[in-house]
Structure formats: structure tokens, C-alpha cells
Amino acid sequence: MSLDKIFGLYTILFLGTTVLIGIGERLGFFSNQMIGWLFMALSLAIYVVIGVLTRTSNPDQYYVAGRNVPAFYNGMATGSDWMSAASFISMAGALSVQGFSGLAYVMGWTGGYLLLAVFLGPYLRQFGAYTIPDFLGARYGGNTARVIGVVAAIACSLMYLIAQVTGVGFIVARFVGIDFNVGVFLGLIGVLFCSVLGGMKSVTWTQVAQYIILIISYLVPVVYLSWQIFSIPIPELTYGQLLQRNNAAALAVTRDAKEKETRALWKQEADEANAKLKAGGLAEAETEKLKAQAAQAARQATAPAASEDAKFGRYLTVPTGTGMWNFLALTFCLMVGTAGLPHILTRYYTSPSVRQARTTCGWALFCIFLLYFTAPAYAAFARFALYTRLVGTKISELPSWVNLWKPAGLFDVVDKNGDGIVQWADFVLKSSDFVVLATPEIAGLPFVITGLVMAGGLAAALSTADGLLLTIANAISHDLYYNVIDPSASLVKRLTITKVLLVVTAIVAAWIATYRLSLIVELVAWAFSLAGASFFPALVMGIWWKRANAIGANVGMLVGLGVTLFYMIGSRFYGMSWWGTQTIASAIFGLPAGFLTIWIVSLLTAPPPREVQDLVVSVRYPKSGQGTKGDPLGRDLREVPAH
């Protein structure tokens, strides 16, 4: 059976099952919790089955899926590899809170693919190794570059992996109602079955399956809402109208006397908390609590419209000054980070040819684009629902979705001024995740759609976890163990080590996740700056400048990493501030430092040897003889031992 038929049939079966569960719900067979269980069991079963069916011990299959993933499917796999729990669950919410500034994520996480397409992807495919440190090792002759690459790859990927595992735990706990820790380990089964049995081959095909689930579940609720309000099922086209209605609502709300009264009360609460803070002499826990209270109250006291005659709500206001600088810097860092993250770069090795690597990049961005250009629409629709279906209702007659989601701690509805009516400032947002999670119910859709959204969130978290896990395990087993420590290791030994490492890494990530450190989410955002500042300059210079040499690249990577880490830690923990730049945009300093260092140090030292310069030339032209074998140095890895 052809791939198109297999995945077409799979999509139809998945939709059919969803409809069946929906009918079951309508007939009263299933409770909400049972629907949650059904979707979790169903999706985990799919991933396990794919893992078993695609198991392999052939190294080319295990490391790079046999280099025969057609562009369209590779695009889908890259899409779900890329879109994490954060993209799926949190981005739309962040946009509804941050407004225009939040668009840095939308642009950064898509525009990076252009950099990837023109600077790196096709060239890495022409080079054709197994891992990104492989390229660094061959291009910058030696193990130093390889080891720096390994360290940077693990630094970027591990935090990211822990966040995905945490995401799995949250999703499962929230929808199925089981313990967070149990949820984490259930999710691991889904991840490990694929990666251990079939490496990249299993991961690729599972990611394709996961992409299909996640894109369907993301689009259904908001398409339905658009249909409900405008009779046009394309939310991306209709939400412009909604922005204007939201703005009119924001102005009306801002003028409302009761609303002003409520906001004044919040302002009072914030002032009191600040006064207590100023007086000092409090225990640390007490201080933290007051600070949070003051911040929340101050937020609630802010009017949704910037001014009486504002053309747009505060939500759409374009930042100025430092705000604009940070917007541009963050967009840039997210872009170079996107182009520098090893678990995405590795996907280009799985393309059958340079030609398809180029097309893969196009399909990948298209698959990601489908979700990202819908995310701002989600934010607008959720805001619209709050203005029209919550503000002005009686506290005693709240809509059903409020009662369903309030216990989850995503938001609270309080009657601040005690008038028995909900004002805009009475809605206290605790986690903007509510935008994606609660939209199906806000739209009045049956619970089966909420189950579908859960399956989508799970798919997004697991698919990214798969890719990251494999990157970390390969970095240690293939790059560190095989290439640096024991180059005579047999194929069986290497694959065994990889498999053991997969399990160990997964358990370590899950174990750290069970501590639920709030810092983790923050550290994920750091991964982009770290990847952007370490890998991006060395890879781009390696391909685009023949003269870049080993010492330049090694020092450059370290300087890039060092400057970025220095500013991150300095600004996050020690109040450092260069032009008011925020911590997550640290690569704005590290990246130029990395490029400059490679350039200057390379020019000051001897040019790289002839073979390396030939290698650079060969990656620029398809069919250069390079890049068909598994190993960059021409060793055929299918016949081990190599040395």
C-alpha cells in the first residue's frame, strides 16, 4: 500500500472513531472522564503500533530513517517535531494576553524556516551524516568541535524535553483526572516504544501520525466558532471583523461606570499590597505572595482600551521604544534558534535528496503555518467570547464552561464590587492556556471535541519529546561514545547503547519533571537563544565560508554560548540590563559575538586543510559524490567495524 493510502485511511479511521465517540456521548454512553481515557488510550495505542511495525536494527534506518522520507511526509514530521506542547496549548493564550508583542513568537517560529531553507537544510542533506555534531566534527576536523556540539545539543534539548514531559503530565492529569506523575510515566510509554524499537524510522512515521491528529484538533473548534458567528468556516479570514468588534467592546467596557468601580477596587488592592511591601520586614514567602497579589491586582485594574478614542484595544497596540527593541530582538532570536535546534536540523538528513530537502523545508513551514496563522484567531475568538458571553451576566447564572474549567485553576470569576454582575475586571486570568483548552466548550461543542483537543496536545508534546530524546541519545551514543571514546565499537554494541540511553534519558527527564519546577518553562525559551548562538554561526560559516577553520569555530561556539549564558544569568538573576533587553532574547548579543569570533580567529590562524575546503565545495553542489553514504568520511557504516 502506498504512503498516501495508508495515511489517508488512517485519517479517515481517526475521524470516524471521533464521530463514533461523539455519538456515544450524545447517547449517554460515555462520561467526560471516559472520553478523556478513550482518546488517551486510542492515541497511545496508535503510536505503539507504529513503533512496533517500524522496528529496525539497520543503522541507516535507525539514525536517518533510511534517507527515504518523501518531502510532504517529512514536512509533516518536521511540523509535529517542531510544534511542542507550548505551541499547541499556550501560544494562542499568550497572544490573547500579550497582543501584538506576542506575535514575535508567531513570526520567529516560522521565519526561522526561511533561514533554515536557504542557509542550512539542503547543504546538510548534501553532506549527509547522522547527527549535527557529525558535521561539526568533519568540517572542523576533530573531536573538539564534535564535543562542543554534543554539549550544546544536550544543553538545548534536555530542558526542552523536560518541558514536553511536564506537558504530557499536565494534559493527562487535566483530562483524564489521574495523578500528574502517573501521567508522565504513561506518556513515556508512548515515546519510548517508538524511539527504542525503530529510532528515527519509527519516530518519523509516528510524527506524521501525530501531526494529522494535532492539526485536526487545533482547527476544528475555531473553524466551528467562525462558522457559528460569521457563517464562514475560515477563522483566519473572519477574525479581522472580530478584532473590530472586540475593540468596540473594549471601549464600551472602559466607559462603563460599574467597570470603573471594579477597577478602582483592584487599584486599591494593588496600592495596599505595595504599601505593605514598602513597609518591609516581612518573611520571604509573605513578600512573594504580596508581590504576586499586587501584580495581579494591577493587571485587573488596567482598562482594556488604551484611551477613549483609541482606534484599537490595548491588545493591538504596537509597542514602542524598549518594547519595540525587545519585540525585534526576540523575533530574531527565535528565528536563529529555530534554524539552530539540532532535533529539527537532523530531519534534513532523512530526505532522499537535496532536491527533496529543499521541498521538505517548504512543506514543513506550510504544515507549521497552518497552526500558527490560526493561533491569533483563537486568541481573538476567546476574547470575543469573554466580552459577549461572560461580561454582563449574573454571577448566579454563569455559563457552563465557567463552572467546568474554574476548578482546573485556569481562571477565576470574582464579584469584586459585589453587584452580582460580571464585569470585565471580575475575570481573573490565571493561566492563558484556557484559550485553547476551554474554547470547545465556549463554542458550545460537545465534550468529544475537548477530548480531541487533549489528543492533539498529547500528540504535540509526545512528537517533540520523541525528536528531542533521539537527538540526546544519538549525541551521546553516536558522537561521544562511538566517534570519540570507542571508534571500534560494533554496530550491535552502538545500537544497544543508544537504546539504553533512550530509556535512561527518558526516565531522567520524567524524574526531573515530577518536581514541577516553575523554572523549566523559562528554560525552554532559553534553548532557542542557546541554539541560535552556538550552532547557527558555526554551521552557517562552515557551509558559506571556506576559510572558517577549526580553532575559529571552536572558540566562536564557546564565545557565542558564553556571552549568551552570561547575559541570561546576569539579567535573570542579577538585574543586569543592556538596553533593557529581556532574558529570552540573549542571543542578540551571543550570535554576533559568535560570528565575529569565528571570522577574526579564522583569519588570524592558518586556513583549513585542502580536504576540508573540498568538503565545503562538495556540500554546495548536489551529486558531488558526498552525501549518499551514511558516513561523511566515506566509510560505509552498513559494514562495521569502520576503522
Binding site: 508567531v106 479570514l237 479581522g240 523575533t331 491569533p376
Partner: protein
């Protein structure tokens, strides 16, 4: 095999060959074309991302497109669509160039 019309890839069906068989001149032309294309695409990327969707967004917001303030629209949707088109154009043109120079890969 080196053609005498150096630099121009043959227009009829190109013979299968490897990049090693391109003349120095052909290699240079192929690479220069690639660099030029990349530069143009990156220039568009820069203007769209940092100027239109960034510094100029506030000014562009005075116009409205299908209900959206234009600056917001470009940052939320327009720029994304342009990125997709840019990659598609890059893939199409480079793949065509490969064919022209007879270094198109099968598969």
C-alpha cells in the same frame, strides 16, 4: 563532460553527470546564482519581518485589510504567508537550476 557553451547549462535533456564534471566556470555561475537568490530572499525576509511587521507596523495600522489593521495583519498572517512563498520559490528555482546544470538528483 564539459560543454563548450560553458556557464550555460544545456537546454535539451541534460546528460546525467556528477558535480565533479562541471567546469570551474559552471560551478562559479551556479554558486553565484545561488548567492544572488539567497540574498534577494533574505532582503525580503528582513523588510517583511523587521520593518513592515515591526518598526512600520504602527504607521501601517492606519489602513485596514479585511477588517484587520494592516500592521497587525502583516505580523500575524502576511509575513507568515510570505515566508512560505519564499521557501517555495527557493526550492522551485534551485531545483530548476540543478536540472539546467545536469546535477538534478533522482529520488
Amino acid at each position: 563532460m564539459a560543454t563548450t557553451t560553458a556557464g550555460r547549462g544545456p537546454t535539451s535533456t541534460p546528460p546525467a553527470r556528477t558535480a565533479g564534471e562541471l567546469t570551474e566556470r559552471q560551478r562559479e555561475e551556479y554558486w553565484r546564482y545561488n548567492v544572488k537568490l539567497t540574498t534577494v530572499l533574505l532582503a525580503i525576509w528582513f523588510v517583511v519581518t523587521f520593518l513592515i511587521s515591526g518598526l512600520w507596523a504602527s504607521w501601517l495600522n492606519q489602513w485596514t485589510i479585511i477588517g484587520f489593521p494592516l500592521g497587525y495583519y502583516m505580523a500575524a498572517q502576511g509575513s507568515l504567508a510570505i515566508f512560505v512563498i519564499e521557501i517555495a520559490v527557493y526550492a522551485y528555482l534551485m531545483n530548476k537550476k540543478d536540472e539546467e546544470y545536469g546535477i538534478r538528483e533522482e529520488g
